[in-house]
């Protein structure tokens, strides 16, 4: 066991982890942040996507110790109290949630996209969400949601 120090959704976290424990296991089983979903565990489905130091990564393919001293943002950290994040808002309006299992990973991937390029064209959106699999296959609603969110982000500055 090794001590680990990081910030999750703005809160400092100190805990002891096993050396080969994945970030996903720590988030879900130790910190009980079960918004982040466990899917294939090998980087294909993207449901475990979280933001580590500003970049969307697979938490199932990241050892917790890799994130030492890092800043993590999960789906739980997006909303401000009762106010949803613009991407979440757009998701509701576009009906993009569907069964909801891919939603946390998808929203984190979109969050990373909109940070880097606030007004993505459709190709950029497709490339950004390529790493998250939606088995409802309703990708058009998701693309619609990203476009709404991108418009919303620009409106609010």
């Amino acid at each position: 066991m090794t001590p680990l120090k990081l910030r999750v959704n703005g809160e400092p976290v100190h805990l002891l982890v096993k050396d080969d424990e994945t970030l996903l296991d720590v988030l879900r089983d130790r910190l009980l942040l079960t918004g982040t979903k466990r899917g294939c565990g090998e980087g294909q489905c993207g449901h475990c996507t979280v933001i580590l130091n500003g970049k969307a990564i697979h938490s199932c393919l990241t050892l917790a110790l890799e994130a030492e001293g890092g800043e993590i943002l999960t789906i739980e950290g997006l909303a401000q109290g009762d106010r949803l994040h613009p991407i979440q808002e757009a998701y509701v309006k576009a009906g993009a949630i569907q069964c909801g299992y891919c939603t946390p990973g998808m929203i984190m991937a979109i969050y990373c996209l909109l940070k880097e390029s606030p007004h993505p064209d459709e190709n950029e959106i497709r490339e950004a969400i390529k790493g998250v699999m939606c088995r409802c296959t309703g990708y058009y609603k998701i693309i619609d949601a990203v476009q709404r969110a991108s418009a919303g982000v620009s409106k609010n500055g």
């Binding site: 090794t2 096993k18 050396d19 080969d20 994945t22 565990g41 090998e42 980087g43 294909q44 993207g46 996507t49 970049k55 969307a56 990564i57 697979h58 199932c60 393919l61 990241t62 050892l63 110790l65 890799e66 030492e68 991937a109 990373c112 996209l113 490339e127 950004a128 390529k130 790493g131 998250v132």
Partner: protein, 321 residues
């Protein structure tokens, strides 16, 4: 079961020393970990010590070498390589190859060094222990005596080299800097691959790949990664072609179809001699590649698509700009 230990290495020498402290195969080097952790989950790699490289300072830099070429630190992520303006200007085929790898989430973590040293892959190897139990004699997975890809072979392993950036690096004539705690050497990109799926890299114990050295560009290049769908898959094959601006020195490289990247030297000579019919060159090249593995696409399929794609990109390259 023994617990796995995680050692963040402060520098390259220490990383090299740490791996040597353990018996071979019990200590592994990890950079992005996007391939290693999958292999670990499948119990194909069972390390007792993971030596973590990403905290070594300075190794993620991409910088011009002052002689018209570039030096890419082995820890530069595929995302950083794919978006680097200098690399996009001078080596567009390399940037394209980096961005052709899997998904953004993988590219933010995975590194250039890792993509070159990527474990060779096979239909019978990259599987769960349960699946593998049905094929117990695979040489690579369980040290058996058979190869299910080439049942008539007496020895050797035909698992495929799979890094997308390898083809362009070979075509560009890149070299690699390998550093251990005792010595340092530079090896050509083609020489690092030994051509056997099991012992696929010429890395000695304790050696760490630190830099990729790119010479100044010599001509126009084109890169194609072929996969049946535009999804996250590994390539069925990649093709990298360079036609020099003047003189001889064309390169035609096929990668991800054998345990090492393949060059078609006779077809390159045809190209240098000014053969106009690109289909003739493509046919010669595909014959020369002499594909054996049906993994990721049947042989006939691979040959036909490869010929068509080669013809197409060479014709495009030969057109005046």
């Amino acid at each position: 079961m023994d617990e796995v230990r995680f050692f963040p290495a402060p520098n390259v020498k220490e990383a090299s020393r740490l791996t040597k402290e353990w018996p071979v195969s019990q200590a592994v080097l990890m950079a992005g970990g996007t391939d290693l952790l999958v292999l670990k989950k499948l119990k194909l790699v069972n390390p007792r010590s993971i030596v973590y490289l990403k905290r070594i300072p300075g190794l993620a830099e991409i910088r011009p070498d002052g002689k018209g070429g570039f030096i890419i630190g082995a820890l530069a992520t595929l995302d950083a390589v794919g978006r680097h303006p200098g690399l996009n200007r001078n080596y567009p085929m390399l940037a394209q190859a980096a961005l052709a790898v899997a998904s953004p989430q993988i590219r933010y973590k995975a590194t250039m060094g890792g993509n070159i040293c990527l474990n060779s892959r096979c239909w019978f190897y990259n599987r769960s222990p349960f699946w593998r139990a049905e094929y117990p004699h695979c040489r690579k997975a369980s040290g058996g005596s058979q190869c299910y890809v080439t049942p008539r072979s007496r020895q050797g392993c035909f698992a495929l080299q799979s890094g997308d950036t390898v083809g362009p690096l070979v075509a560009l004539g890149a070299a690699l800097r390998l550093v251990s705690d005792e010595e340092e050497r530079i090896i050509g990109m083609e020489k690092i691959f030994l051509g056997d799926g099991m012992h696929y890299l010429a890395l000695r114990p304790g050696e760490v790949l630190t830099e990729i050295l790119l010479p100044a560009p010599v001509g126009r290049g084109a890169f194609v990664k072929f996969r049946p769908q535009n999804n996250l898959d590994f390539a069925t094959f990649t093709l990298s072609v360079i036609i020099p601006w003047k003189g001889a020195g064309s390169r035609i490289v096929a990668a991800c179809v054998a345990s090492r990247p393949l060059r078609a030297r006779q077809a390159e000579a045809l190209l240098d001699q000014g053969e106009i019919n690109t289909n003739v060159i493509a046919q010669e090249a595909v014959k020369e590649f002499n594909l054996v593995s049906f993994v990721r696409g049947s042989l006939e399929f691979k040959k036909q698509v490869m010929e068509a794609k080669l013809t197409e990109i060479m014709a495009r390259l030969k057109q005046p700009m």
